[in-house]
């Protein structure tokens, strides 16, 4: 007779056998809803990359402005930026210089200039990655803007907005267990808790598969030329993950599981209630270049 899921077996064979319930973490309809749906903007532009694959900064500027305008549903980008940042804020722009690919410096410049345009003094805004732990702006920040590229990752399955705050921890490797499942816990650290006003997941040339010490192969990138923007980092990451999964299906011809499971995004919803990962909890707005949107 087939054993039930709860039944433990002690067999006559030489090995001792045990059966365990089927999924470690799973979408559970009983998990409380995290507020309303999360609004996520995916904006793309076919002219973002020049022929030599450098970034056309003016196109990127338009994308950022159009993105925040639609995210905050304002008449102009300026109004949106005033909702994001106040003149009295001390603003850390958390970037990511790892990779490749890294957060484009053009995007860092644009974000910094927009923060300053709201009235924040130049000496009250800083762009940093690995130095945040000793950067006085980040140490005293009242607002954070979180931006990084999406790429597959050898510890976490995918490098995400959630993961971008790991450097705020005194001991980053301590977050690596179970494919970095508990990364959302980083967002409870006092230095970041409740401060993030905008998340931008960079999907200009996303990495959908990787190998080797640098976890990078150019052939596993493509010119998606998009940004995923939102207030909810979980929803942005979940949307980015859907795009990567769709690309992997297209490239490999069949569904290929990630070498390391990126379940930290789902855990962020189900365990930490940081945001929404389930597709039906996300209000997706698709702007700009529609060809090859994948989702």
């Amino acid at each position: 007779m087939k054993p039930t899921r709860r039944e433990f077996l002690q067999t006559g064979a030489i090995g001792t056998a045990y059966l365990i319930a089927s999924h470690r973490i799973h979408a559970d309809t009983n998990v409380p809803q995290v507020g309303e749906k999360s609004r996520v903007i995916v904006i793309r532009d076919k002219d973002l990359l020049n022929a030599d694959e450098t970034i056309n900064k003016s196109v990127l500027e338009k994308m950022v402005d159009e993105g925040v305008k639609n995210l905050f549903q304002t008449a102009t980008p300026e109004e949106a930026w005033k909702k994001i940042i106040k003149p009295e804020d001390i603003v850390g722009i958390k970037t990511n210089v790892g990779g490749p690919p890294r957060t484009p410096v053009e995007l860092e410049d644009i974000l910094k200039s927009r923060v300053i345009s709201v009235g924040v003094p130049m000496d009250k805004v800083s762009v940093d990655d690995r130095g945040v732990g000793r950067n006085p702006i980040f140490q005293n920040s009242t607002a954070l803007i979180n931006t990084r590229p999406m790429r597959t990752h050898h510890w976490a399955g995918v490098g995400t907005l959630l993961k971008n705050y790991i450097i705020f921890s005194d001991n980053p490797p301590s977050w690596h267990a179970d494919s970095c499942a508990n990364l959302a816990g980083l967002w409870d650290m006092p230095i970041v808790k409740g401060k993030t006003r905008l998340n931008i997941l960079v999907m200009i040339t996303p990495l959908f598969h990787g190998k080797g010490p640098h976890h990078y192969n150019k052939e596993y990138t493509w010119n998606y030329q998009g940004l995923v923007m939102g207030i909810d980092p979980v929803a942005c990451d979940a949307t980015g993950l859907r795009i990567l999964k769709a690309k992997r299906l297209q490239h490999f011809g069949s569904e290929q599981p990630f070498v390391v499971s990126p379940h930290h995004i789902q855990v962020a919803q189900d365990k930490y209630h940081l945001g929404n990962a389930d597709e039906n909890r996300i209000e997706l707005v698709k702007l700009g270049w529609q060809e090859g949107f994948l989702i």
């Binding site: 433990f8 090995g15 056998a17 059966l19 365990i20 050898h154 179970d178 494919s179 080797g212 150019k218």
Partner: protein, 309 residues
């Protein structure tokens, strides 16, 4: 040359040769001073002196991924940069892993499902990158663009390194314990401590298997389509039988204790759906995620037979 000098020379020569041909388990033999031409195809060597990193400084170079190589005992990494007139770089990294088992482990940390072009002991070549291992070296060459010219240069650089490593080295002996049938060679991972093991497989949150500096293990996927079975096999060698028994007991105790938990709690605690546990001498064998216990047991028996040989 007098006979005494001749004998001395011969002894020194033989010592050198024997040292260089041994499959060593430590980094006490040949440390090669790699030499490169200034130009390979269109790519120029930026600096003949590479950037050098050790286990403590490797994080500065490859960030989080450094843990993989530190976990396997990396001794030194030589990082060279090549660039062409269009400023497209090739990154060439030579990892001295200290012994061939660790070099094998560094190579097999990634899934290796692409073309082997016969460089080193095992190699994988893609459009713009090449990885291989040979003796106590793991080599990774990555072009930052994507073109036939880059691929050609990457392969040329690989050959230049390959030719300078005289010995082949051998895979870790623990790999020989694995049954052949259904073994997915591309999904075979060698590990030493818990840090690396947990990247590839999740047993439970704590290091109940007591993996550490004195252990080594192999994790591999088996695919048996005819029998509609897929499973994972984990074999771990401990320094002593007592340590093996302790790890076995730890895991079994945890599983016994979990009997009182709800299904959801159990599922959160463990990273597998089914497991077969057995120790033999100083080896612990785990077969996980099987659907048909008799197949898992048959594989377990085969491994036990090989250990006892």
């Amino acid at each position: 040359m007098s006979m005494v000098k001749l004998y001395k020379f011969l002894i020194c020569f033989l010592l050198l040769v024997s040292c260089s041909t041994m499959n060593t388990s430590s980094n006490n033999c040949k440390k090669i001073n790699f030499v490169f031409p200034g130009k390979v195809n269109q790519w120029n060597l930026v600096n003949p002196e590479p950037d050098r990193y050790n286990a403590d400084t490797l994080f500065d170079y490859i960030d989080g991924n450094a843990e993989v190589y530190r976990s396997l005992g990396v001794k030194e990494v030589l990082a060279y940069r090549w660039t062409n007139p269009q400023q497209i770089e090739i990154w060439l990294d030579i990892f001295d892993m200290g012994n061939s088992s660790s070099a094998y482990g560094a190579y097999h940390n990634d899934i290796r499902d692409q073309e082997d072009i016969g460089i080193g002991v095992e190699s994988e070549c893609m459009n713009n990158s090449l990885a291989f291992w040979k003796d106590h070296y793991f080599v990774s060459i990555t072009g930052m663009g994507d073109s036939p010219e880059i691929k050609q240069a990457v392969i040329e650089l690989g050959k230049i390194i390959d030719q300078q490593i005289p010995n082949k080295g051998t895979p870790p002996q623990i790999v020989d314990l694995l049954p052949e049938k259904g073994l997915v060679k591309s999904n075979l991972h060698y590990f030493k401590d818990y840090n690396l093991f947990k990247v590839h497989y999740y047993i439970t949150e704590e290091n109940v298997l007591q993996l550490g500096k004195d252990t080594e293990g192999v994790l591999v996927r088996y695919n048996l389509p005819e029998q509609q079975e897929q499973m994972n096999v984990i074999v771990i060698r401990y320094p002593k039988k007592e340590a093996t028994l302790l790890a076995e007991e730890n895991l079994k105790n945890l599983l016994e204790k979990s009997k009182g938990l709800s299904e959801e709690e159990q599922a959160k605690l463990f990273g597998f759906e089914s497991i077969l546990i057995h120790s033999c001498e100083n080896y612990l064998i785990l077969i996980t995620d099987w659907k048909q216990e008799e197949i898992a047991n048959s594989y377990l028996n085969q491994i036990v037979q090989k250990i006892k040989k």
